[in-house]
Symmetry: C2
Subunit: 356 residues, 2 copies
């Protein structure tokens, strides 16, 4: 930097100001030009490490993703990274497991590296990590999963609505014995999709209280299969399953196949996420589409805002999901629909709150 200053015939501090977009306006354009030229000629670039040491800022953002990198977190990551890098940020990824202490440690480490903010894709409905972020005063946003209470801004899909869309679709097809293949309830996705399922059932005049339901412990095909097995053995009469997630739905496929049943003839299935390739499985999966990449982008936006103006009130961005009808849903098999639903209803439970 000293060399550049010499070559441009100015002081180092002028070089610093000229090279930094934020302070460039303090320098007369002519000097800026000379500095730029000198820097160019010497192949000089500002040292972000030194700058970071001095300013405490780093143009670095940490992102915490579950280590069981399912397909949904990849587009979130790319969406966020893309958007962030447009604004000069780099992204440090940390894959975190379930251990809460390790999570705090990792966050700690990122903070030590002076990240300007954190994107948390791992939040449970009441997460110590969030408490930690708030206490430490690190600008942070949630993505995909929200907390019970909105302590931090975040971007999520309207999971309640998504599940309702699924139920409404099934009811329209004539189903009334609809079961739920739920996700982990400590995550907002599992919790809300279950609630959406219940409410939609009620709104359609079906018995929500006794609706067959089993929860998978994790969002995996294996756990989905295990839960689906429990569901089918306890309630052989069901004609449709609303799954909290595509992977769970595919687990149900495995079970249905192994039971010698046919989807959708014997049982219809709706997934959630519309992850890549579920249009190619057999039968093509009817599911709820969520734009995870867009979630990532918006989380990036939210984080940048949080970084720029601290203590900005927490705000939840809720993205609308969309029903994608494919081959895994159809009319119930004859003689199956013993419980009768109220006449063909898209009676969405409009008043259900979206509180996590």
């Amino acid at each position: 930097m000293k060399q550049v200053a010499e070559r441009a015939g100015v002081h180092v501090s002028t070089v610093s100001r000229a090279l930094n977009p934020e302070t460039r306006s303090m320098v007369v354009p002519e000097s800026v030009a000379r500095v730029m030229k000198a820097a160019e000629e010497l192949g000089y670039r500002l040292d972000p490490v030194a700058a970071s040491l001095r300013t405490g800022r780093s143009k670095l953002v940490g992102i915490l993703v579950p280590d069981i990198a399912t397909n949904v977190f990849t587009p979130i990551l790319t969406g966020a990274t893309e958007r962030l890098s447009e604004h000069g940020y780099s992204v440090i990824v940390a894959y975190v497991g379930g251990d809460s202490n390790k999570q705090l440690d990792l966050a700690q480490g990122l903070i030590a590296r002076r990240v300007d903010g954190l994107i948390v894709a791992t939040a449970s409905r009441d997460d110590p990590l969030v408490t930690f972020c708030i206490e430490r005063g690190v600008p942070s946003v949630l993505v995909n999963r929200a907390e019970k209470e909105t302590r931090l801004s975040g971007v999520v899909s309207d999971d309640l609505l998504g599940a309702q869309l699924a139920v409404d679709h099934l009811v329209e097809l004539g189903h009334s014995r609809i079961a739920h293949l739920g996700g982990p309830r400590e995550h907002s996705t599992g919790y809300l999709r279950h609630r959406g399922f219940i409410h939609a059932l009620a709104a359609n005049g079906l018995d929500a209280a006794s609706a067959p339901t089993e929860f998978a412990e994790t969002y995996t095909r294996e756990q989905g299969a295990a839960a689906a097995r429990r569901l089918l053995s306890a309630h052989p009469g069901i004609t449709a399953i609303v799954a909290a997630n595509d992977l769970l739905a595919l687990g149900a496929y495995d079970v249905i196949r192994e039971a010698g049943l046919n989807c959708p003839r014997d049982i219809s299935i709706v997934g959630h996420n519309d992850m890549p390739l579920v249009d190619m499985v057999e039968p093509p999966l009817t599911t709820i589409r969520i734009s995870h990449k867009e979630m990532g982008r918006q989380a990036a936006d939210l984080l940048e805002q949080a970084i720029e103006t601290l203590d900005r009130p927490a705000r939840n961005v809720v993205l609308p999901p969309k029903l994608i009808v494919r081959g895994s849903t159809g009319a119930p098999r004859k003689g199956a629909g013993r419980k009768s639903a109220k006449a063909g209803g898209t009676n969405r439970a409009a008043s259900v709150s979206n509180e996590v």
Copy 2:
């Protein structure tokens, strides 16, 4: 740090030495203990930014992945990140597009952040980025894709062998009119899998020179479909396709379906990668399995070695792929096999060099 020094009754430099595992041996154990205790009590942690400014090292590794994040790069990323974080490294991901100048810029930026090394998952067979890394003296390794010449260490799958496995399998089933649905030839994967295809054909006594071949421009389902369409219209007589990648194979599925044909009855297909869910598509895809996560891990190992001892000679780790037989391959339809192959052959072309 000064506070810790005071509290422990030693000088800051002693604190520094005590806290850093590499220099801890210079300090008498008793002092170390006192320092540790004081640090603990104050909740003090070393500042990596300041350390980085001083030492030039950062415990940060950059990884360059293609921005069209297909499924294969996610496990590479997680594998590498896991292994690296075990050794105290954090990972900065950069999603890079095709523009070579932008790639250099991104690498430049990572270097400015003082990354200790770079993992490059984007290399073409002769990549200016590699030249750049070498010139700048940044420890770097390649992963998944290698260069024509081994200028840098790397981890790849044995792509030549993979393609041969695919052809041998098809020949064993009785196919002789086998086509290749190739990948981009500027990448080692596309190039080598094509060569493996050719050599295996020859080794099995089939006419390699005139084997129907079409190349997709990118590894996408769409480009796969386009190339498969060209293949089928130019060579309606083929009974099997060896695809350079699962996505391409799925593109071929689309085309076969739209042509009213059936896989595997009319045409058998073999993919490459064994990415998630291809066992669930219809028909389940026969493919070549590669452990991308393991590739990521080994790339991490190689990079750590390169960081520890500079100017270590470049070394290629070649992982063995494995044929996974599923439902997309079967015997050719009757009357299709007009060309005759040499008797039932697993005549692998053992002597084919693996040079990229």
